[in-house]
Amino acid sequence: MEVTLTVNGASHTLDVPDNALLVEVLRERLGLTGTHVGCDTSQCGACVVHMDGCAVKSCTVLAGQADGADVTTIEGIGTVDALHPMQEAFRDCHALQCGFCTPGMIMAAIDLVQSTDDLDEQGVRDGLEGNLCRCTGYHNIVRAVLAARDNM
């Protein structure tokens, strides 16, 4: 099956199996291994990317469903020299420990900040319901999102 995706601004046309998942295409075909897979039950959020502007779990989207979509991954939001304000805030607030959940957290948090008016602490906690941190560093993650909210 042929699919065409725009990923971080570049268009790719790929031949993929009918049962390919978006996350497999991103990681294995495009080498974008910043997007992680942390579970097989669609619960952890490590795989969150933006598809047509919305945060989605890329482990629970078939490549065919993403055909024609505009996808942004953690690799597409900033560079080492010019971090995205959310990445900057995660660094400043010490919001990552092992870093496994971080790409999904950051992509989820960017969508949350962009789509919510008057985001407060409870709103951040509710908004990140679908992102699990096995290091349990939630307190600093919430601090980082609130800090980035003011800089985005």
Binding site: D18, N19, Q43, G45, V61, Q65, L112, E129, N131
Partner: protein
């Protein structure tokens, strides 16, 4: 995942034709239930027929009733000011489903078609006296859920929309599973066309109306009317999250919370 053929439908008719000609074809909407099921190898369809591109089945139409296209996501329902104006309890319900990413993909049609005993929308379908419209007919909410993961839908039938009458008042209270956010018990209490209705999800094999609670509240929607009332736990679900007896207890507690919100 097992192998399957992925087919993208461009119309309801084409989707139905693809399903009819497949050896074992299954529809795909948001995929928030079906894809995890495929990943766990709990299903092995020959063909996955993606109806997600059928934009005609998307959107809300609020007038004398609230009609929600089958492909409308939980996030779209939660964000609709028109839905909130007509049936705030339905907005609250949609807003409380799973997490933000699930709400961005999961649809009302998929939720209703699946008849997961712990899903939220089924409580609204029975509690608010909704009608489920399909490509073949219209099915009364009361007749739609028939058993665990079973509905009145026939092989290949496609839900096109779910239509809710606007209740005089309604409230939904849910006791979520702290990990998945699915309902351990969820109760929709509503006054529709002068009658009190109580839709329950999470407790039984599928969503149902509680005759005991409806009888207790028939004289008026007050918390006191539920004092001493109990529901039988007979065929309720029992699992590691809650026993049947605890679920029966929660049904009354959630009903009290919903009624309190209405007062």
């Amino acid at each position: 995942m097992y192998q399957f053929n992925y087919r993208k439908a461009s119309s309801v008719e084409q989707a139905a034709d693809l399903q009819a000609s497949a050896e074992d074809g299954v529809y795909l909407a948001g995929g928030m239930t079906l894809i995890p099921t495929l990943k766990q190898r709990l299903a092995a369809p020959s063909d996955v027929i993606d109806v997600g591109g059928l934009d005609g089945l998307r959107g809300v139409d609020v007038g004398a009733t609230v009609r929600i296209g089958a492909l409308t996501t939980h996030a779209e329902v939660a964000a609709s000011a028109e839905v909130r104006g007509a049936i705030p309890a339905l907005s609250d319900l949609a807003e409380g489903i799973g997490d933000a990413h699930v709400r961005n993909r999961g649809t009302i049609g998929g939720s209703v078609a699946n008849s997961d005993p712990a899903a939220d929308y089924p409580a609204a379908v029975v509690g608010l006296a909704a009608t489920v419209h399909t490509n073949r007919r219209s099915i009364a909410g009361d007749d739609f859920f028939t058993d665990l993961f079973e509905t009145a839908l026939e092989e290949g039938e496609i839900i096109t929309s779910v239509e809710f009458p606007v209740p005089a008042r309604a409230a939904y209270a849910k006791f979520p599973n702290p990990a998945s956010r699915y309902a351990i018990v969820g109760v929709m209490v509503a006054e529709v066309d002068g009658a009190v209705r109580v839709g329950v999800t999470g407790a039984g094999r599928c969503a149902f109306r509680s005759v005991e609670l409806e009888a207790a509240l028939a004289g008026g929607l007050s918390v006191a009317a539920l004092d001493g009332v109990s529901v039988p736990s007979g065929d309720f679900n029992s699992d590691l999250h809650a026993s049947a007896e605890y679920r029966a207890h929660l049904v009354v507690v959630m009903a009290r919370r919903a009624v309190k919100e209405l007062a």
